[in-house]
Subunit: 580 residues, 2 copies
């Protein structure tokens, strides 16, 4: 269904077609990957000079530093003026100024860009999207520094989550949308038998049309990773996209929009197919934009309060939200306590738990667990996990490469008041960052609670605060996991058990509560990791998110199919050929 | 993704599996049909004894008549008591009493039925759905009489629209949902390279889980055709379904629910997977049910006011609506006026225009149109179409087999006040039905308006009222078609022109307004016809409907995918075999 309806700007289809041809194999491989779900990625995740070029790291850092203290030029229509007050969680002001956005101007520019983008067809649009992703990949080091200094992620994580892993998620969305847009014939001759009379023959054609304009609302901690699926899914299906970043994480999405506009211009499309909506502190662009009748798609990652507001108020649009999550681990038994504790310690410490996938509640029976054939007390389990964290983060220079920095004051304040929530099992320490003396770095804090303290642990404490919840039994733990995910929302769940029956029952509870489950993870794989093309991130089946990154439901509603039919001439007479 | 999680009632999977095997070819053929879009149907549309059995008609009528004046037994949980006050538009009370429904009881019964239905897996559920459709097909004559005497459709149309064509639409929804549920691997070993170290290996499995409970809200005129897509799409994806019929068209959906419950019981499932919610005149079950937290899917056909209320208020659910439509025909030119006028006359007369697909506004330039090389005046065009209707409906016995009866008093009142709307081109006549003297039968009325009279023609006049709107030019006509569809909603659009450029421009306008277009239809195919597996009914791209029957978006949001992953053992050592 890629009919070109009205010609886009001269040459656009041809240039976009070349992009498509260049990246066709990547797209086809991605379509296979989403079906098969095996490991695959076209964008190398290792920030290595041997892959990205020996000078890539230095070049990327210099490109990032060259942007500091300057206006960021996007050359997009707007009212004039500048906004921007980003500060690196590592302790310095970025001082980058972005063009101000005015709602009417932006809507008008996006609306004007729509017809040619719609008419270009799925192939041309896919070509442009794949070229954007390819160019973003080549700038992964620059992006890594941009993500690091807006989110507080340690560099390697920022490189991966803001670079190749986000690009993977963008490509995954393009692959899903491509599959859905091309799953039907784009034309057919429909021939209905009429008994002895001539059949009715109609020539039918089917065209993919976009919903309208799309709004992507980014978050502070994962500006790219959480935005790329919606951005690319809306874009490839024909909807011009307005990207509204978090005021604290503008740069990664400004870079993304800049690359997108550059590719659009190179392909002779109106660059206003993708625009940035940076805002000043006193503006409320997201809520103003989200209820505009022209906005027909909204992708959001952020607070439950605003996510639910969008779901209830932006009813003119398809709304895809990811909100707060309260993630649980059921700890029942293990044959290798150190491996389990080490794995959990890393999950709690990574980016100081500032992840929607980080575990919060460790559910442990109050009479302890079996380690091999030996019963360990609750206290021993607590101390074991606390000890694993202390060991992991003993060396400050290594620790900060795990924890990164605290993203904002709200998270810092949350850690500071956490001791009042219960019995402190492990206190959060401040670490002096060897390179960034003004960075706020915090190790995880663990608080001990009883299963009865639901009002404390059944809400999200975003950041390096987790709870060991003493339960009556593993059955009780499983029930808490189920109810927490079902009633409060969860994006991940985990279980450690040597008992297949326990694993199976946790699996049923997780399925019922609509949360993905990781069983007995040890080694270099953690519950907070979610790999594109294989792991479905969130499910849309509990309050943590009304959508999944990425499944067919995430893309199918972003376009419609419009049919045209007319009488077809009678089939040509095909006199049977008699063989000799 | 058909893992059986917890065992359903003993034997259920096995019995449903037999249903699946019996109907597997039909399903596979349907999956191919929705991709290829060519003509196909497994359910014969001709109400012929040679197809359905020589006594099928008599048996069906007798089965229908045997239900009159009696309680309809569904054996479903409820508060006791009966409701029902259906009256045939052909002039007699049905006197059928249905079990009363109480919201809490129904929600509890559906909720109790959910776990085993979810656990059964896609294959078992598809088997049950296909068996339901097959048994419904065998009862198409009985259903035809039920639809005829609730909607006022003439018998052949009632047979088709309530029988085979509705069954086609149900099967189409099953095929789409099946495609989406089975498009991913249901398990995989994910193996991520780790350079020189051993790869990380995870065994992952993916499970389809339903959204929750589904509500289907039926309409008066097409109780089955408009309900089956939502009913079967929700059912096959694992959501128990509560069917809330229009108070005036209960019987067709009661029969449907009855057959569904019979098949569910035969397959050893809880029959409460499908329930009927019939209501008394003073009840508001639809709005009470639609906002219940347990209800996660709502399918609705009916008024714009209630449809928009659902979209704005049932935000806890996926809401799929079809509302009012204002359909236009652009009349520009023709080489065969009689063929064109005959085709339009039939479209206006069929079921007295009581169809969401019936044309309303005939847009004709005020200086007339070209017929061959001769210019006909507007008055000649009006008279030609009016004459074609007179000719079509001259014989009362034949006329009533086209028009059927007026479905309810609101439509009758609308016809009666229509002369006040403008200049009467063709007055509506009453026809005495040869078999049903108390039936209200009306021929189409055509009112002449000017393009300036937008307040009159840019709203839906559901029933046998249409307008000839005098426009400045065909370009003006095309603009009115576009604006009407875009701003007020349209489900069909048509154009008659001998000029390829006009056809192309109308095509662009229709695509922009998101409405399907029929060009130059003559003979036995009409703009109001929409064939499953080929025609997308409505688009979801204009205010007439927020969904399409059926596209991927209609089914993809009815389930979620929940993943489970755990470490996989190392791959078995595969020492290369050296050849010779």
């Amino acid at each position: 269904m890629t009919q070109i309806a009205t010609p886009p700007k001269a040459g656009a289809a041809a240039r976009a077609g070349r992009f498509f041809d260049q990246h066709r194999e990547t797209l086809e491989r991605a379509v296979r990957a989403i079906r098969e779900r095996a490991y695959w990625s076209p964008y190398p995740e290792v920030p290595s000079g041997s892959i990205y070029g020996e000078t890539a790291n230095d070049d990327g850092r210099e490109a990032f530093e060259a942007r500091l203290g300057r206006p960021f030029d996007l050359d997009q229509p707007g009212p004039g003026g500048e906004v921007g007050d980003e500060r690196s969680p590592f302790g310095f002001d970025l001082g980058i100024r972005y063009p101000r956005t005015e709602v009417e101007t932006a809507i008008a520019a996006l609306t004007a860009a729509l017809p040619a983008w719609r008419a270009a067809g799925a192939e041309a649009r896919a070509g442009v999207c794949l070229e954007i992703l390819d160019r973003l990949n080549k700038r992964s080091f620059e992006m890594g520094y941009a993500v690091m200094h807006t989110t507080g992620q340690p560099f390697v994580m920022a490189f991966q989550a803001g670079g190749p892993h986000a690009q993977d998620r963008g490509l995954e969305a393009v692959a899903y949308a491509w599959s859905e847009m091309t799953r039907h014939a784009d034309h057919v001759t429909w021939e209905k038998p009429q008994g002895k009379r001539d059949p009715i023959r109609l020539a039918k054609s089917y065209r993919v049309v976009p919903r309208g304009l799309a709004l992507v609302i980014g978050c502070n901690t994962f500006p790219n990773w959480n935005s790329y699926p919606g951005l690319f899914a809306s874009l490839v299906t024909g909807n011009p996209v307005l990207v509204k970043p978090s005021r604290r994480s503008v740069l990664p999405l400004a870079l993304t929009v800049s690359v997108a506009r550059e590719v659009l211009a190179d392909a002779r499309f109106d660059p206003n197919v993708v625009m940035l909506a940076a805002e000043a502190e006193d503006e409320r662009l997201a809520s103003d934009l989200a209820v505009r009748p022209e906005i027909r798609l909204v992708d959001f990652t952020g607070s439950t309060a605003f996510g639910e507001w969008l779901e209830r108020n932006a009813t003119q649009a398809g709304v895809y939200t990811e909100k707060a999550a309260v993630n649980s681990i059921v700890i029942d038994s293990t044959d290798d306590f150190d491996a389990m504790a080490g794995n959990i310690a890393f999950s709690l410490s990574l980016y100081s738990g500032q992840m929607c996938t980080a575990p919060q509640n460790l559910l442990v029976p109050r009479d302890g667990i079996l380690v091999g054939s030996v019963r360990w007390s609750l206290r021993q389990v607590e101390e074991g996990i606390a000890g694993a964290i202390d060991k992991l983060l003993a060396d400050p220079a290594r620790a900060v490469e795990v924890t990164g920095a605290i993203v904002n004051d709200q998270v810092r304040e949350r850690v500071e008041r956490a001791p009042s929530l219960g019995r402190v099992i492990l206190a959060s320490r401040s670490i002096d960052h060897p390179q960034f003396p003004d960075a706020t770095v915090r190790t995880p804090m663990i608080v001990g609670l009883d299963a009865a303290d639901e009002t404390v642990y059944m809400r999200e404490e975003f950041g390096p605060v987790s709870f060991v919840v003493a339960t009556d039994s593993t059955a009780h733990s499983i029930d808490i996991l189920r109810r927490t995910a079902r009633d409060r929302g969860a994006i991940t769940a985990a279980v450690y058990s040597t008992d297949e029956d326990i694993l199976s029952r946790t699996n049923e509870a997780a399925a019922e509560a609509g949360v993905a489950l990781s069983c007995n993870l040890i080694g270099n794989i953690w519950v907070n990791q979610s790999a594109a093309f294989s792991d479905f991130h969130a499910t849309g089946a509990n309050p943590a998110a009304n959508a999944c990154l990425t499944d067919p439901a995430f893309v199918a509603g972003r376009f419609r199919i419009v049919e045209s039919r007319r009488p077809a001439p009678p089939a040509e007479d095909s006199t049977p050929v008699r063989s000799s």
